[in-house]
Symmetry: C2
Amino acid sequence: MEQLKRLKVKDLLKMNAGEDILAKGWVRTKRGNKQVKFIALNDGSTVNSIQVVMDTEKFEDELIKKITTGASLSIKGKLVESIGGGQKVEIQAEEVELLGECDPMRFPLQKKDTSLEYLRTVAHMRLRTNTFGAILRLRHSMAFAIHKFFNERSFVYLHTPIITESDAEGAGDMFQVTTLDLNDIPKRKGKVDHSGDFFGKKTNLTVSGQLEGELGATAVGEIYTFGPTFRAENSNTPRHLAEFWMIEPEMAFYDVNDTMDVAEDFVKYLVQYALDNCQEDLQFLNDKYDNSLLERLNSVLGIKFERLTYTRGIEILEEAIKNGHKFEYPVYWGADLQSEHERYLVETHFQKPVILTDYPKEIKAFYMKQNDDGKTVRGLDVLFPKIGEIIGGSEREASLEKLESRIKELEMSRKNLEWYIDTRRFGTVPHSGFGLGFERLLLFVTGMSNIRDVIPFPRTPKNAEF
Amino acid sequence: MEQLKRLKVKDLLKMNAGEDILAKGWVRTKRGNKQVKFIALNDGSTVNSIQVVMDTEKFEDELIKKITTGASLSIKGKLVESIGGGQKVEIQAEEVELLGECDPMRFPLQKKDTSLEYLRTVAHMRLRTNTFGAILRLRHSMAFAIHKFFNERSFVYLHTPIITESDAEGAGDMFQVTTLDLNDIPKRKGKVDHSGDFFGKKTNLTVSGQLEGELGATAVGEIYTFGPTFRAENSNTPRHLAEFWMIEPEMAFYDVNDTMDVAEDFVKYLVQYALDNCQEDLQFLNDKYDNSLLERLNSVLGIKFERLTYTRGIEILEEAIKNGHKFEYPVYWGADLQSEHERYLVETHFQKPVILTDYPKEIKAFYMKQNDDGKTVRGLDVLFPKIGEIIGGSEREASLEKLESRIKELEMSRKNLEWYIDTRRFGTVPHSGFGLGFERLLLFVTGMSNIRDVIPFPRTPKNAEF
């Protein structure tokens, strides 16, 4: 039996009884009696563990005692039919090697408390739980599906810069990046002198790759970004991270309608991919945390999303108020929609995902294409059940003149923007794009309700451990 | 003809003559005479342009005048057989719409100077050249192939943190991340007071995701990272970037031999993928910049990489010196190999890629598995023609005791390392991993010789534009 190749638990569970096998993994639980011990062995390849049966008389007491939750084992044995329990096969252990002990008095996952709140306090170890195994595998599958979707459509994956002089659209508070000695900041005329700083000027972490993405799209046609993005907002909420991952496709020669088609295809593709490839993990999360998860995932497939203007959306909300529906926030033309408004449209009125377009220009960014009415811009938001806005985007203003006048109107600094304006100065083309917050997508796909639980190492105010 | 769907140049070039078509793109060149103009139209979907033929009498002079290099066009016409030239078909233009002009006096790519050095000074526009189109598409294909390789092997893509308190292995100079007002740094007892900083302490940009990757591997088995990595080294060389992308797989239950197998399969897979999927772009780069590119790519396939110890490698180099070979840097057991040494082994001695193992512990990181000889560790480097080291990795020290004693020996601070040590404290397992610099790979695959030319927006000392 020396030459056995190690097999993963995922594969062992699908095999037939009779084979000699080698398995390695961590002990999830041990139970049993004096004659026999049952060990649930997990190696992270699936949310399911395989049962290992140890006849106690075949093994040293000392070894059996050290097989505790979290310990790592290498097991040679025979795959035999499992009597009772949900699984076809189990391992009858013949040789057991203890690879690593796990002191029950100190192991953080030994404790009774397995709440998500507690697990956040031991984030480096929570990855070893079934819950975070499932979430990590889903996160992987969604990332892969994103690359697959765009690759199939010949989009080019563009790495936009992380450290930048640009402040994008002035979208949010930024983290500064510096190599200056904070204990002794050099100054000139009373102000910070960045001449000795690594980049020779003030730089920060990107808040969006879109503007650089437009450089890419107006060069190779269709690009997408998928990278980390940063906001230094001091918000301690279940929906905010200081460091999160964004996907931002940008497409030359696409108008707002082409873009809605891509956005709708995209999210449907991702949900379908999860249902097709992550059944066991989804079932586990559905059963443990959110028993409407699978139903909700299926609810966005096989139907066409409702498309309407912001203006029509406001009318529907006003009618709802007339009919007695109460909202916390006021509804009027020009208001930024709140989550409660978005969810009313999606969950109550249309009962399917909604794409709103043509928003008031005052509540949208400077680069969105201006409509002829002088009041609205060609923005689009995709609204989903439970989470509200999942995608935001627009057709971009392609006219140099209109873009420049909007920048002036908003009294924006052009200083770090000339390179962007060049896209309209030299061979400008109609183009569009949108952004998807990766963790926002994962909240939808996993059914988790706190964004800190869908990223392995969350960065939030006062928290940058590991 | 109103309802024509726009087709990409890549697809048009493969079609047969006879069809009515709609094409959109940018003018690469315009030539011709009074009767007829020939426009090379490119939309970024391929390095090749399609020829558009305009009978001048069918179009306004004003329009024809504005069709200059860099201008964007929408063209309806008929696909006809191309007489002469390398292409099967060309477009006989029937309607031409000028989407965006491009002032020849100002357009940076209009200039005669198309050197890579010049293009670096207009990095936001260089993406529109054939060279950078080819590089961006190759960069995309390699990124996709990386995800595909690991997905096929059930590795989990793990997003390790970008902002971190950890300094990894102390691998390099770091960028600080802060929200403190640099004009007015708060101090306490003469030192920077980070209590009001976003994270409440000193944080920096990651120099490696490996240590966090080990947390992932010892939870779900096999993971890989693929994310931006930062070094604040003030090196203005063709091989250094302050911001670059790294791939770091980490595998539980793999020893150093398993890891060599994965590393070898991995780079072969990537090179094969490029040859299979990026023929036109590779041919273009081969013809324009490096006419041994295709030969070199093929040279790493279909053979087994040579595997030997560092000690044997030193012996070979010493023999070479005895036989009259001159190296710039000295060769002795314990020396860190220089690029010239690596290339001698690969290009002269073995004439194929080489994997060196079992390096002196003094020149390798603290976490590498210690061999029984007390002198060497189970590190591995994959060495390639032209570029030298392309992959570095090791089996990790799995023993808590040995890891702790090495940390002590090196007088490292354990302060931000306890979470890492926990991987050995609780259910430790043999595990291994390696790192591949994405831009290093791209230098090999594209044949470019300056690393600033294989990333869209290079960050180097004094340069963080866009």
